[in-house]
Amino acid sequence: MRKVAIVGVGMTKFGEHWERGFRDLVTEAGVRALEDAGMSGAEISAGYVGTMAAGSLIGQEHTGALIADYMGLNPIPITRVEGACASGSLALRQGVMAVASGMHDVVVVGGVEKMTDLDTAEVSEILGGAGDQEWELFLGATFPALYAMMARRYMHEHGATEEMLASVAVKNHKHGSMNPLAQFQNEITIQDVLDSKMVADPLKILDCSPLTDGAAALVLAPLESAKKYTDTPIEIAASAQASDTIALHNRESLTGVKAARIAAQAAYRQAGISPSQVKVAEVHDCFTIAEIMAIEDLGFFPKGKGGEASLNGETQIGAKVAVNTSGGLKACGHPVGATGIKQAVEIAWQLRGEAGKRQAPGADIGLSHNVGGSGATAVVHIYRRVN
């Protein structure tokens, strides 16, 4: 298999884009990625796009063809993939496999979601489809409720506090305040989180990621020819994915995401590194408890210590591992299909040293961790700066 590199990255601002639609957003991200790679588009031989729920959110299926059309990329083969909130990373993984195998040379991968054209209740119901519709959501559970039950069990088993959960949101807003593309660029305090409206006890609204419009894109090429397109190629050193039961209640444990642990172990093996070598990580903080479980599942902190580590500032920029420098899903925003690609874009900027005020010092190895649903799909990628 060939080694694969990121040679171009691009994303839109994340937020409420009332004035712009699905195709405007994804086209902007794609064009930015091609410009970044110094390409016209003629070199692109295939595309993969992640979007979770375009059919329900904007009534549009067949989004692969739509995007190739509006990007001016016809007649390339382009394929949409879906894995709930991990759809973006699935698209990236398809692209990596296509280039690594030699099936395609230069590939564009993207992620997009247009979420604010419907009211919040409708969107929440659509997102519920990432869980078990018949046996969780229909019976009265919500997505925050599933993560709230993980949080409750985690607090029961490990003695974590609501302040520890809140500290994740505080840190991610702080990072988001340094990211001009983030949806929320305001700082918040632990007290703000604790005082915010209850959604599903113990999770309040400021423990939850928002609804967001946005898109992100990457151009991938074989590492051996990457220097043709960029002076700063980023090698994708590992791509791993795992699955677990669709319903949360059937998982072995509620206090971690087993699929993420399996994917992480496979990714570390592929890259030949240990967790302690990762300097910068984008992890799936759809709810604050999710980041605490993520940093444990990824091996950055021992089981049960993630909450304390978060509260002690051990995951902020400047710490041994900087987690969610973009602001994460919480502050940068969570256009579900775009999130996995945005994570890769942020890591690429960090490893190139182009992350501006939020640059993590000494970032040479990065990781992204993207979870679908309450943990039925997990995808981990590892990235390395090429000198």
């Binding site: 078990d132 039950m149 409206k197 059937n250 509620l254």
Partner: protein, 134 residues
């Protein structure tokens, strides 16, 4: 989410009576019913199983931001219940608030209305749980 009449009809045995399945090869219980034992796959021997309806709370939450159809119930308690036979399900705990529920509490199944907001007038019934009186 709105659920169709045929889908609701198909779910009657599971939702009204907690009918699931068990694998006679490995002794695992499944609710809702599964036709393939994920542990034994082709070696599995799946048979129907009536669950007792007794169980324990594995985790729970009190919901304040409800999905469509549950607006009038807030706040209400949802839980992951581990049934006595071993299978687990997600269900509402009735007649309590979150402060009255604890992990490990014993519960029993009750038959209740789940949703009645269907524009075609379909009323959905099914299982919920209540705390067992000591």
């Amino acid at each position: 989410m709105k659920e169709s009449l045929p889908l609701t009809w198909r779910k009657i045995p599971d939702r009204y009576r907690l009918l699931g399945t068990a694998c006679k090869n490995c002794g695992s219980y499944y609710f809702p019913a599964r036709h393939v034992c994920p542990k034994c796959r082709r070696k599995g021997k799946i048979e129907g199983c009536q669950f007792s309806g007794r169980g324990r709370v594995l985790s729970f939450t009190e919901i304040h931001a409800p999905p469509a159809g549950f607006e009038e119930q807030i706040p209400y308690v949802m839980a992951i219940v581990e049934l006595a036979e071993g299978a687990r399900c997600t269900a509402e705990i009735v007649d309590v608030l979150g402060k009255d529920v604890g992990i490990g509490d014993e519960v029993e199944m009750v038959f209740r209305k789940i949703q009645s907001h269907d524009p075609e007038g379909l009323i959905h019934y099914g299982f919920k749980f209540r705390k067992v009186k000591k």
